[in-house]
Amino acid sequence: MRVVVLGAGTVGASIAELLCTHRHEVTVVDHDPECIKRVREELDVRALVGSASQSSVLFQAEVSGADLCLAVTGVDEVNIVAASMAKAMGARRTLARVYSPVFCDLSTFDYQRHFKIDRLLSLEHLSAVELARSIRYPGAMLVEDFARGEVEMQAFALSEEIAALGTPLRELKLPKGVRIGSIHRGEKIWIAGADDQLQLGDHITLIGARDQIDEVKEMFSIQPPPKQRVIIAGGGETGYHLAQLLEGRRFSVSILEWDKARCEFLAAHLPHATVLQTDIRRRQTLEEEQIGRAEVFVACTGDDENNIMACVEARELGAKTCLALINRPDYANVIGKLGIAYAVSPREVIARHVLAFLNTGPVVTRLPLTPDGPIDVLEIEVLPEAPVTQHVLSQAALPPQCLAAAVVRENFAWVPGADDRLQPGDTVVLLADREVFKDIVQAFTPL
């Protein structure tokens, strides 16, 4: 496919490289001749010097015939303008990277809609989601990338003799907005149906809003894990988003941040977190803040080396699990050796989202639910005149081996019921057996 990448900084260059290895035809644009020179030397791409927000430059880069245009310069406003222009000039899909959270909010002004951009991506938010995922449910999958964290999927084992066992699911009185997604029994895993009955020892996934999932867990006597102490080093945009995602009854969150003004912002915006103004580069600080007592330590400052050092220190002081935000791919090799459990690379995170956009037809992303299992999580765009929009979900032309886990409409996500009807413009998240993939694509392909 033909892709135009606007911005050849670290993010742009690494996406361009990735797209090259996937054999896509890439054009890179940057206003800095040095960056373009480097890209030309290192990558097999077309590269041109110019401003991403100028029509003449976009024209030269041939955005008009592009399958995808990515605006990933360092300036939010340039990205928005450039992505909007590219779309108007004929690019099939456009993505703009934005840093400031205000661009992703639509309560006052809907940037994405106004500028007709397919998606505004916040690298910092996506990285935070990635970190939160590895903290909250090791080994489990979340659906929450799709919206503002409103719909989640969590996995559990049923370990108590409870009344719900042996009752068909249709008779279980689950709160509105929560569904059982899949059942994992012994070697088998399948999409839950209305007639299925749960058994002791089953592993199930629940889909819904966090609070409602908690209600169901109480119903099923699933014991909440003891409250975990999480320490976040670095209160930048990623650290802030991460704290927001974790705030709640199951985590006690502390944030360490050096800048005083930023600390005040964090304290004002995170009512349940403890904000400490301190320098994480000093070992004494880490000792004083009792890093050793943390179940999870996350280093997400903007500096790879500081993150690595802080993790190594935290580990030595006794922190159980250490996570780090690491930008440079060269460090991947040493991460494990230094006792860092998991490193999130913002560039890899954005790369995955970019590749997801290179599907054809209505399918946006396709990921396996479990590494070797038969079930996929599909994100599908609902197009005008797709057969699936003709009826409410219970009557829609979908095979039984699939389940609508979430519908995202205008940035709001919810778990649909049998009476909900998909509309063009929605994005739907489906759990589906791989066998019925073709049938699903058909149901979503306009007649």
Partner: protein, 158 residues
């Protein structure tokens, strides 16, 4: 766009009790719920969305006025209410002053134009000091409703 196009008269309150931002937003959304303006099952989600918007920057625009708002898919038309607090609420306003007068607005996401026209109408009309002062002094919802009607008829033009 007129106030009558989105303000639900039965939801207007002149005796807001809450003393802080989350409290007053909850009180106003509840008033909308009681007046039948929103689906009760969506109340919590709406409160959450409005508070989320406040995190990006207060909608307290100074002079004792705030315009908390959000878009929400559960409403199919613009719905709003007016709330008056006699004691005032700390709302992190631009000028640091307490807020006495609230315009709450919830719009369906697919009508961005109407949403902006409603916000525009609110701020335009509130520029009239007399209108603003009379609203703050209102002791009963019917007074507020009458003032809104007068404003809709352009009786407060500056």
């Amino acid at each position: 766009m007129k106030f009558a196009d989105f303000v639900i008269p039965e939801a207007v309150r002149t005796d807001l009790k809450a003393e802080d931002k989350p409290g007053v937003i909850r009180e106003m959304v509840k008033a909308l719920e009681e007046a039948g303006g929103i689906d009760p099952a969506e109340t919590e989600s709406i409160i959450k969305a409005i508070l989320k918007r406040e995190e990006l920057g207060s909608t307290g625009i100074g002079r004792g006025v705030a315009v908390p708002h959000t878009k929400h898919p559960s409403v199919n038309r613009l719905v709003g209410m007016v709330g008056v607090s006699q004691e005032g609420v700390d709302f992190n306003s631009l000028d640091g002053e307490k807020v006495y007068l609230f315009f709450l607005l919830i719009s369906p996401p697919d009508r961005p134009g109407d949403h902006l026209r409603a916000l525009e109408n609110i701020s335009l009309k509130l520029r009239n000091e007399t209108f603003c002062r009379f609203l703050k002094q209102s002791k009963a919802p019917k007074d507020v409703v009458q003032l809104l009607e007068e404003a809709d008829n352009n009786q407060f033009n500056a």
